[in-house]
Symmetry: C2
């Protein structure tokens, strides 16, 4: 079974190469980006400006191939790729919750963006804390480290 | 540009038809499901069992076509589809944060699952509150309603 998706827009950011980037939105406080939604999908943006935060689902277009075990940025051991947010995944899909500051026509102004310039956007969803933020009590290999993900920059490993 | 993904597994749940389902994980407290990860991706599950919650990204396989404006389950007005979690999206991708109770070989045991039986799984990510749960202060048309999404069942509109 093959699933086909078509980008609904493109994400524009200050990050032109994979090295030296924030690895999560928490590492990009105040970093501004823009999303251009393609004209044919523009009408789907109605009412979105009421939400302070949105979930972006995007295609990690510069990720080539995948590894089932990866050494993530936050660790020096090999971890199963599904227990990490590393980009070299069987399906290279990325997810970021970002701040939405303004919508002008088909342009979304966002903050705390941690993706490469030119990343194809697949979907946008409103971020709803009541359903998207359960109380997690175990964080596995990231326990005690996840609050430091904002301090880490990417290197050339992926 | 066309993006091709291949399912990494399949989600098994008690929900056999689209009507009468919970519309979000909060509407499925304790509802048990299983995910079968296909053998070739099994090694990517290493270390995932340390996390209490995981993000599932899946293909809404029974969603046919899309609408840019939809009447969501929680409202009686038309809303832009990107401001909703409705399934009839340009790219029918779903996202749920569920509880992970156990992994046995290639089978994930999960709770609070709100998807149709047989849904193809595209990706799994660990849920990390520090990066996935910003403080949202505006919820648009869902303001004052999002805590009631757990009480609502689906009907046949999508």
């Amino acid at each position: 079974m093959v699933i086909n998706y078509t980008p609904i827009g493109i994400i524009k950011t200050p990050f032109k190469k994979k090295e030296g980037m924030p690895i999560q939105p928490t590492g990009a406080p105040g970093v501004k980006g823009e999303i251009e939604i393609y004209d044919e999908f523009k009408d789907g943006l109605k009412d979105l400006d009421g939400f302070s935060h949105i979930i972006l689902i995007y295609h990690l277009h510069q990720s080539v191939g995948f590894q089932l075990n990866v050494k993530p940025f936050m660790d020096d051991q090999l971890r199963g790729v599904f227990s990490t947010r590393a980009p070299k995944r069987p399906n290279p899909i990325g997810l970021s919750v970002v701040k939405l500051t303004k919508i002008e026509n088909n342009i979304l102004h966002i903050e705390n963006i941690d993706v490469l310039d030119g990343t194809p956007l697949i979907d946008i969803k409103p971020f709803i804390p009541d359903v998207d933020s359960p109380k997690a009590d175990r964080l596995g290999w990231l326990d005690g480290k996840s609050n430091k993900m904002g301090d880490k920059l990417s290197d050339n490993r992926f």
